[in-house]
Symmetry: C2
Subunit: 356 residues, 2 copies
């Protein structure tokens, strides 16, 4: 397989010069798009949408038909791994993901196993292959997984949580049990991401959505250490092409230096982080991906253009090593036309600055 025709995203992740700043958006395939809502209705429910390769492929491609995005991201859910581990994932309207069998008892935790992706997660790998065929090497496809700590949060709580009391009780009271969950899950994530790479994804991203709820020593011990375990064992090259990796801890702005030492190629940063300050802290060890506040997209085209420019400027004009993105996922209340403005602003402004 050759490099995609538009490889700007991959080059920016690797710190190579680019003609402009590439852009994609977390949750770019989602409920703000009428065609997504229509596909979801056809699927019946969210999980069927994820688990039906033809539908997941269709939905992955929807934002690329509308916008001049520099990457596609596999449409899936971070909780496919715990689901494959037998926790019984389901979704309730308005309350988000839940597990039928949360991990609370020692015997359940000791029984945890590393699912074989080609066996338990074949629908994801089939989606990857189908999307790659459909993309026909136009733009790269990003694969992803949740971080072990973030998956453990959901697995122990049995769903989302406001204060993560079950998880925290285990962390402080039975750290041995949590370490066991994290070890098994880190191996599962590694195998899963490597299987996605073997199936055709050209970059991978690890979403640590909940690492920011931890104290600094707890972050190091229960999240960062397992991110390290994964990054150390990711496939770095496929068919002669480097496969870059991106690590994103939401609320992890305090720990960027330590994250930059993981050996990944880029860090995702949420909108609380100033990109200029982040860049001076991590130097050229990693590229940065982010970080417009997704709430900006709820306003007008004029404001979207102005705030997008502000984020570009905060990284520093005319430079590579920046992938434009939001600081978190696209809100379902986003007017689709605002995303056109965002994408066009990133491309136009950054091209202009490259020429100065």
């Amino acid at each position: 397989m050759s490099r995609p025709h538009n490889d700007t995203f991959l080059r920016a992740l690797l710190g190579e010069p680019t003609d402009y700043t590439p852009v994609w958006l977390m949750r770019q395939a989602g409920r703000y798009l009428p065609e997504y809502r229509q596909a979801r209705q056809r699927a019946g429910d969210f999980l069927t949408l994820c688990k039906t390769p033809s539908l997941a492929c269709e939905v992955t491609l929807q934002p690329l038909a509308r916008y001049d995005l520099d990457a596609a991201i596999l449409f899936s859910d971070i909780l496919t791994i715990p689901d494959a581990m037998g926790l019984g994932l389901y979704f309730t309207e308005g309350e988000g993901p839940r597990f039928e069998n949360p991990l609370r008892e020692e015997w359940d935790i000791r029984d945890l196993f590393v699912p074989n992706p080609t066996e338990h997660l074949s629908y994801v790998l089939e989606t990857v292959r189908e999307v790659r065929r459909a993309l026909d090497n136009s733009v790269p496809l990003i694969g992803f997984a949740g971080s072990p700590f973030t998956l453990a949060c959901y697995m122990v709580e049995g769903g989302g949580s406001r204060d993560f009391h079950h998880l925290k009780r285990m962390l402080y009271g039975r750290p041995d049990l949590l370490h066991h969950i994290l070890t098994v899950t880190a191996d599962a994530v590694t195998d899963y991401l490597n299987a996605q790479i073997e199936s055709g994804v050209q970059a991978v991203m690890i979403f640590d959505s909940w690492g920011g709820i931890l104290s600094t020593p707890a972050y190091r011990e229960f999240s960062l250490a397992y991110l390290q375990r994964i990054v150390d064992r990711l496939i770095r090259e496929k068919d002669g092409q480097r496969v870059p990796s991106i690590v994103f801890t939401k609320g992890g702005g305090l720990w960027l230096e330590e994250m930059a030492a993981l050996g990944c190629d880029a860090l995702g940063v949420d909108w609380s982080v100033d990109l200029a300050a982040a860049r001076s802290r991590v130097g050229d060890r990693v590229a940065l991906q982010g970080n417009l506040d997704p709430a900006v997209l709820l306003t007008t085209p004029e404001i979207v253009a102005a705030e997008t420019t502000r984020v570009l400027q905060s990284f520093g004009v005319g430079n590579s090593g920046h992938v434009f993105n939001l600081g978190h996922g696209v809100s379902r209340f986003t007017p689709p036309e605002n995303i056109s403005v965002l994408v066009d602003t990133v491309h136009t402004q950054s091209r202009l600055w490259r020429k100065l």
Copy 2:
């Protein structure tokens, strides 16, 4: 009025030498205490408890009867100011505070006024005087208020929120309106805190619970600038005694240097911040208050002692300039005996280290 017999807390805030590390806990008077639940039942509802000086005084003193705490904090709510502004505060079981009249329309915003504390918030000032009489100069009494930005979040959203979309739309779309709310609210907070000082509180704390939802430039413009407006105009001395001020932005760990330049005496820090790193960033410009994860208190006495020691050590043993606290309020699920262990550990360990 003379200095309290135990002035360790005040001395630590001012960076003066102390025999041990003082400790108090955010939400130390609260639902985890059976005697609090009993008083609340007598009051009928939370707001009546806040608005009845004899009951608010009783509840303020409850944790001091149980624990060897180094300060009392006025029992009240951060939303008394918007309530005095006529927004119609009420509380719903399980959903937290709500306003009958959220601030959405320009004419409502233009009508906002600075309430006169002696007129509209006299019940708070009466509580302060009653608590001071009851404390009889044993330990200092802390007064407090919400930050203008945090109050504006509640006022615009009409209550708590997951993503603060109303607030964010105004911030990006009509910043002039938000600045007007923040200016009026900053003046209200200033008058309110100064009235608390005139009535007898010996230190003040400003809670910026939601500043952490902002981008760095938005934090500077919409939260920090109004914290500055308040700190600049606080009464600094009363009856020959310095009245120290503490500023706490939850999730504000990235901005400690800028907060330390406010001119306040101490910064509260949540548990994500490493105290040693924070201290090296702010130097001796401010004392630090924090930062045990409140979830530690849900475990066993042994774990509470160990994690408390860890926080003391992270600041650095044997030093002043640290006020021990949690990184956020006490959880309602905290076993009361764990707080004894916390307080005793802070006192015993820090005394020991002072003597090394």
